[in-house]
């Protein structure tokens, strides 16, 4: 019953949407420009009515005879110096200084202006009013000339943006300090500067009927899996939405399994990480106005990987990754283990620890589960507060708050000291997860596991872990099994999971992602005295 009603409503809504989608700004039909400048000006003024940031400038070109022209652009989105120096000055030049054969006369004035007067590289023409308007809102300047039913679109885009600086969410000790900014072009440049190859493709899409957000799909032709690229294109084209303000919008709209708690898209703010992923055959989705770039497909080892692992020597990288793996388990399981062990499996504690915990807990008002739940919640609140507060205060609050509240709770006899230690350790451990969005899943999952541990002890924890395992096994990200290369086991791809093999031994790209062109470097590059000439010199 309910189902049927729901489906009916959905159908109705769909029809409605289709009917309404006609009047979106992006999908308007053609509307040719008029030859008469006056009419065009009138039209433009009515389009940009109540748009106080649109600059419309009428000017006269010093031709023989002088020609009327009209310049339109949005203040703040164009380089005013460029416009004044290379457009205005050129147009208003004293005709006496111009050689006779180049004087602006007659019908070829338009092309003359375009080809020889304006000193700007990016210049296009259009004869469509809607196209002109679209370009103008994009930050181009439009130049109309009387008597010509066309307009020049001058690319003088420049707007205020943050400079390239180090990413806050993914800091490294060793490695480049540049991070993506809000400006798409800067971001693509940062990547292109790292991969100077024509094989690095960047396909452009505009998504969002009102926001007209630029989305670039970047991949390396011949390495990336065509199926994945095609799937990305298909899913991006499916998106019909009024606006995209952050890459998170896209992420949620292209996921494989929207009900899953695990992120199915990897994100980064680091161009070096993105470039490395592109080289391995991954596909990137860069979105304008956000420094956060999406990478697909994603497999579960990314939980442990930081770009720094590849810059430090491999032994250190292995050590650090194992440490992170341990921390990941602590962050996920420690509070539940504490609950399960102190309430069900006390025998697992060494006798002295048993006695110590028992003496701490003597006279405590709440069971261990409530204690743990309380402290975990407090810590999550503190962490959230630390992010929301102004940056300078934030850190102080989270550290001092944790110390003070933990200590006060113990002193007040609310919780036992052991649980404060457990919760603090859990919180610290969860900070080691390099991937920000993945750490959310871990933090959320902690709570249901705690509940199961309180009901069924270790059996509950194991049940929860098995549910997670089955779920992860059934997940796919753009056709690639989420747990690969761990399950199905692919021993070759294990080279870069919990461990990271030395670079000279990882001469192949991950097989599951880049099966087309697996060769990364030639074999036998293990360095050592007298080994320089060995090995085949294949081109990677």
């Amino acid at each position: 019953m309910f189902n049927r009603a729901y489906r009916k409503i959905k159908k109705l809504l769909k029809q409605n949407k289709q009917a309404g989608s006609g009047d979106g700004a992006g999908s308007a039909g053609q509307q040719p420009l008029a030859a008469d400048l006056g009419r065009n000006i009138q039209e433009l003024r009515s389009i940009f009515e109540r748009c106080s940031d649109v600059v419309m400038r009428q000017l006269v070109i010093n031709g023989e005879p002088p020609v009327d022209a009209f310049l339109v652009y949005i203040d703040g989105m164009v380089d005013v110096h460029l416009i004044s120096d290379h457009v205005m000055r050129a147009l208003q030049m004293n005709p006496a200084l111009v050689p006779r054969n180049q004087r602006l006369t007659g019908p070829d004035a338009f092309s003359k202006i375009k080809d020889s007067f304006i000193g700007v590289v990016g210049i296009k023409t259009t004869s469509d009013m809607q196209q002109l308007v679209r370009q103008v809102v994009y930050g181009d300047a439009g130049l109309l000339i009387d008597g010509v039913a066309a307009a020049m679109v001058i690319n003088a885009r420049q707007w205020e943006s943050r400079t390239v600086e180090e990413s806050n969410t993914e800091p490294v000790v060793r490695g480049p300090r540049d991070g993506f900014t809000e400006k798409l072009r800067t971001n693509t440049t940062l990547v292109r500067r790292r991969i100077k190859s024509h094989r690095l493709k960047m396909e452009n899409y505009k998504i969002g009927q009102l926001t007209q957000t630029d989305v670039v799909v970047a991949y390396i032709d011949g390495i990336a899996n065509d199926k994945v690229v095609e799937e990305v294109r298909r899913r991006l084209k499916r998106i019909k939405i009024d606006g995209i303000l952050e890459s998170g919008y896209i992420e949620e709209l292209i996921e494989d399994q929207p009900y899953s708690i695990f992120p199915q898209v990897n994100v980064t703010e680091r161009p070096d990480k993105l470039a490395a992923n592109l080289l391995e055959g991954y596909v990137a989705i860069m979105v304008d106005n956000t420094p956060v770039t999406l990478i697909v497909p994603v497999t579960v080892p990314f939980l442990l990987q930081s770009s720094e692992d590849y810059y430090n020597r491999y032994l250190y990288a292995i050590f650090v990754r194992m440490l992170r793996f341990l921390a990941l388990n602590i962050a996920l399981l420690l509070p539940s283990l504490y609950i399960a062990i102190t309430t069900y499996h006390q025998e697992m504690l060494p006798t002295l620890l048993f006695i110590s915990i028992a003496s701490q807990r003597e006279g405590m008002p709440f069971p261990a589960f409530v204690e743990a739940l309380f402290m975990e919640t407090v810590f999550e609140i503190l962490r959230e507060a630390g992010i929301r507060l102004p940056r300078q205060i934030g850190q102080a609050v989270s550290i001092v708050g944790a110390l003070v509240i933990g200590d006060a709770a113990v002193k007040a006899g609310l919780v036992s000291p052991a649980i404060v230690m457990v919760v603090a350790l859990t919180a610290i451990a969860s900070f080691t997860i390099p991937n920000y969005s993945a750490s959310f899943s871990i933090r959320i999952l902690r709570f249901p596991i705690m509940v199961l541990a309180a009901i069924l002890g270790l059996f509950g924890i194991m049940t929860a872990l098995m549910v997670i395992l089955y779920h992860l096994c059934s997940l796919r990200s753009f056709g690639v099994p989420y747990l690969s290369p761990l399950a199905p086991i692919n021993f070759h791809d294990m080279q870069d999971t919990i461990i990271r093999m030395p670079r000279w031994s990882m001469f192949q790209r991950p097989q599951l992602v880049a099966y087309k062109d697996p060769r990364r470097m030639s074999r036998g590059q293990k360095p050592g005295p007298g080994r320089q000439d060995k090995g085949d010199r294949g081109d990677a």
Binding site: Y344, H345, E347, M348, P350, L456, G457, L458, F459, I461, M462, T463, L465, M466, V467, L469, Y470, H471, C473, S474, P481, L483, L486, A487, P488, I489
Partner: protein, 368 residues
């Protein structure tokens, strides 16, 4: 086809049968063999049960290869005619469901005795069944993938137990060999061989393996690996507990309880044995899966997922009402289980194979 996925031999013929036999076998078998074979229990496990397991594997794979892309429920009517064939198919489905209920019961009996005596059995049954539902709805690929890691965890738990107690084991407790002749050894091998024969699952899984010609090799390896692992566990248990092995309900569990290294690595049996929960969950899931698949094929359904949940409810309820007490489980395993299991593991498949050969049904290629 009902199952879209394809799995490879390592997953489905080596690891899956291992996990479909070991998790409960390792709990019950060492004590049961010790009752008959005393200190020679390891021989029952290493030789008698393995030979039986290899036979079952051989018949099951040969039979399956004659009908590529079909499960036993699908080709039984081809061999025996529609009525008798459907009956055999239904028999197998019943057998899988019943056995699965027994598995859940066995493991709940263990958990209740060992960890949580006050917890009602239905809780464990419901949780195990729920876990299995999740796995089964994911399909064979999901079970196989999860199985690969559960296999690692399971082996790890065994290695930890055996490795940590072996330092104070007295291997002379295995003497004298064959004190009372071969008979008790064979008698002791009956129940373990019924466990080992559970590789007959391959009748249902073979069509979904991507290289069925090589399956037999992997399946043999799996059976032999089970033999070695169980024999090892029994050897260590016997050398640790000697003559007491037969009077312990769960010898390997007692071994785990006995671990003590450096004075502080001790009493960790909960942690280690909880790892077995993973193993049992895969075991339950495999039987559950073949039961659901078989039921769907029996009734010519397009998808087995709709039958999954009802079977789960049957499983949870049946496992609770199957036996009165935990001793009854062991009695059943000793007395009724071997003939009951051997019928479906060896007798029926052999008859099917025989009739198929005589009536020249199915392809004649016998694996390359």
């Amino acid at each position: 086809m009902l199952e879209g996925g394809r799995v490879n031999n390592r997953q489905a013929a080596l690891i899956l049968p291992f996990l479909a036999v070991m998790p409960t076998a390792v709990l019950f078998v060492p004590a049961i063999t010790a009752i008959f074979a005393k200190q020679n229990g390891w021989l029952s496990l290493l030789v008698v049960a393995t030979v039986f397991g290899l036979l079952v594997a051989l018949v099951a794979v040969k039979l399956g290869l004659r009908f590529p892309g079909q499960t036993v429920v699908e080709y039984a009517p081809e061999i025996l005619g529609p009525y008798l064939g459907k009956l055999v198919g239904a028999g197998f489905v019943f057998w899988f469901i019943h056995l699965d209920a027994v598995i859940i019961r066995e493991y709940s009996a263990f958990l209740m005795t060992a960890f949580m005596p006050e917890t009602p059995q239905v809780v464990f049954a419901v949780f195990q069944a729920l876990l299995a539902v999740i796995a089964v709805r994911g399909g064979l690929e999901v079970i196989c993938r999860a199985g690969e890691w559960v296999f690692v965890v399971f082996i790890l738990s065994l290695v930890i137990i055996l490795g940590l107690v072996v330092h104070d084991a007295d291997f002379t407790e295995l003497l004298p060999v064959l004190e009372n002749g071969v008979k008790p050894v064979i008698h002791g091998g009956l129940t373990p061989s019924a466990f080992r024969g559970e590789v007959v699952l391959m009748l249902m899984l073979l069509p979904y393996i991507n290289q069925p010609q090589k399956t037999l090799k992997y399946l043999f390896a799996s059976v032999i690996l089970m033999g070695i692992t169980l024999a090892q566990a029994t050897v260590v248990a016997t050398s640790e507990f000697g003559i007491m092995t037969e009077s312990l309900t769960f010898p390997l569990f007692s071994l785990a309880r006995f671990i003590s290294v450096f004075g502080f690595i001790e009493r960790l049996e909960s942690l280690i044995l909880i790892m077995w929960v993973a193993g049992v969950s895969v075991k339950v899931a495999v039987f559950y899966y073949v039961a659901a698949l078989g039921a769907a094929q029996l009734f010519n359904l397009k998808d087995y997922r709709p039958v999954a949940l009802p079977i789960g409810v049957i499983l949870a309820a049946w496992s609770v009402s199957l036996f009165e007490d935990s001793r009854e489980v062991v009695e059943w395993l000793i007395i009724s289980f071997p003939p009951y299991a051997h019928t479906f593991q060896l007798l029926i498949p052999s008859l099917l194979l025989l009739v198929a050969v005589l009536r020249k049904k199915g392809g004649t290629e016998n694996g390359g």
